[in-house]
């Protein structure tokens, strides 16, 4: 069965620190990869997505992610976090022609000012 794992459940950083959140998936075929974010009191919104082409994807608010097919990974990065990045981050995958999203359990990020 397809699955998505996010390695870090809770991350605490100070402002200006660099961020990398891990995401690995299990599926051998074509995948579409997403990172969603949920800010406190708000609903899920898309940070970035990968479908094809350049494996380094840039999203909103300075986030980027790199698809490494050989490692089945799609890690999220940001060089310098801000207090406003405090949120829950979810990695999701859809496989092949199936539109359903398979989700990781999420990573709660707290950025201290």
């Amino acid at each position: 069965a397809q699955s998505v794992s996010q390695h870090n459940h809770h991350v605490i950083l100070s402002e200006a620190a660099s961020l990398e959140l891990g995401c690995n998936y299990s599926y051998g075929g074509t995948v579409n990869l997403f990172w969603y974010v949920q800010y406190p009191g708000q609903h899920l919104q898309l940070l970035l997505k990968y479908f094809s082409g350049d494996p380094l994807v840039k999203g909103i608010k300075g986030f980027e992610a790199e698809f490494i097919k050989s490692k089945f990974s799609f890690n999220l990065r940001k060089p310098s976090v801000q207090w406003s990045d405090t949120a829950e981050y979810f990695c999701a995958v859809s496989a092949g022609n199936n539109r359903k999203l398979i989700w990781g359990l999420g990573t709660s990020l707290a950025v201290n000012p």
Partner: protein, 114 residues
């Protein structure tokens, strides 16, 4: 552009009752998806509707059902409620069924089963 809307925001039911949750997609979106976010289990895919047809179904019992109306809005029905059905139910919508389309999420309906 108005986002995905869901109603009600909160719903309290007792075991054995039925719950009906509603979702209105973004204008121009024809696909609607339902997900369950239960505590400790993360987001689980429930149902996908497109053009009025059920396209895919997650690993949930038949008492979870739904439909999509001609205006592309959707209902999720949960029959014979059980305590473990307590969760946040999220609706998402997207344009067409191309793989590149993003799913946009609503605020959710929080269902509590007592």
């Amino acid at each position: 552009e108005a986002g995905v809307t869901q109603s009600p925001t909160h719903l309290i039911k007792t075991r054995g009752q039925q719950a009906t949750l509603r979702c209105s997609p973004i204008s121009g979106h024809t696909s609607v998806y339902w997900y369950q976010q239960a505590l400790g289990l993360g987001l689980q895919f429930l149902l996908w509707y497109d053009e009025g047809e059920e396209r895919n179904r997650g690993n949930f019992p038949p008492r979870f059902s739904g439909r999509q109306f001609p205006n592309y809005s959707s209902e999720l029905n949960v029959n014979a409620l059980e305590l473990e059905d307590s969760a946040l139910y999220l609706c998402a919508s997207s344009r067409e069924t191309k793989m590149s389309e993003t799913q946009y999420f609503g605020p959710g309906t929080r269902l509590l089963v007592l």
